[in-house]
Subunit: 242 residues, 2 copies
Amino acid sequence: MEGELSEALGRVLRLGEAPRLTVAGRTDAGVHARGQVAHADVPADSWAAHADTAPRRLARALPPDIRVRAIAPAPEGFDARFSALWRRYSYRVCDDPAAADPLRRHDTLWHPHVLDLAAMNRAAAGLLGEHDFAAFCRHREGATTVRALRRLDWQRDADGVAVGCVVADAFCHNMVRALVGALLPVGAGSRPPGWPSAVLAAAVRDPAVRVVPPHGLCLEEVRYPEPDQLAARAALTRRLRD
Amino acid sequence: MEGELSEALGRVLRLGEAPRLTVAGRTDAGVHARGQVAHADVPADSWAAHADTAPRRLARALPPDIRVRAIAPAPEGFDARFSALWRRYSYRVCDDPAAADPLRRHDTLWHPHVLDLAAMNRAAAGLLGEHDFAAFCRHREGATTVRALRRLDWQRDADGVAVGCVVADAFCHNMVRALVGALLPVGAGSRPPGWPSAVLAAAVRDPAVRVVPPHGLCLEEVRYPEPDQLAARAALTRRLRD
């Protein structure tokens, strides 16, 4: 997807070659991204000559599963990945045949049991804050698994679909899907609301937590600080991640 | 799809064999149906024994692209196909990169040019009423192509996607997709608003009308008369169609 976008951008801005993209959130295979952000360095004259027509020409050049909704010059110091303050993901679960829309099967998990969202929200509240999320992450040598979880809650949308909202400064590989995987058994009544917190406290991957399928998950939004804070934020993030 | 549903119903109601289904709207390949209606004759004791658990067990038995949202005994005289008063379809077209949601690519046509919905609505108004829609139908020997078009108009939804609403007593094969195919060039400015009416008046298939792809189309609703009118409506429809 990144390769296709980079190549289309190179063609549309007539750069001669595909520019290198830096992407805000690298999603696992099968995860959607409705609010992805990326940056690339391109010559000012190519930009000036082709900026106006770029969105429609990109739409023509790209396959239907990739769309560039807006494209604009970035402020000085902007880094799509390291300047980000936080990322917001959604996870859609349908637990009611009367609410099931087969047209949304590509971005909605079907769950055979009714979910108690109040119980899931009680459990989720115990996970908020800065913690070592090693219990919900795939271990990578030398990488920290400390993250600040700012929001994790569930509500039903107008159609009755349960939608989880997850916000953190950043996420480790598989982390959102493991968090959701720890909350669904609470919603279905097979685990008590205190279970996800106990898993977190153990700080080791718990095989009882099943990572949910990727297709219910979507990167919805990436938030950046005010322009004058972009470079400082990027420097700070780089230091924390290394 | 009909075969899979019939088989699942046979299993869930423990009928011994798959019941014969009568479906309200037989959709072309690739067309969605969010509001499909079907009926089947099943023994009263099988129904009584398994009705309560049927919706959830059907959800478990069916693939994710088929869901039974509700199941209930039908009033005397009900025929899912012949008792119907009208069918309502929607057709989704996105003409703006800023509004494009790749997650809806499975049920939304991408259109490279901005559409003038007011021009399309002027054109559509000229097609309303009872007419011989032979110009928009694939000809079938011995079948009438007279239909009553009750509604055909376009508006933008909250996301800016152009959504066409089409209501008729019934539709011939390909008819909605041909009607939309006659209106899109009006919206894009390559045909005048009077063109679709002129095509209708000619009453022969016009190769200039391009049948749009099936994936933007969805059967949304099938409306039936009050219970005491069901049998009379079915008898009338059978007479008209033969």
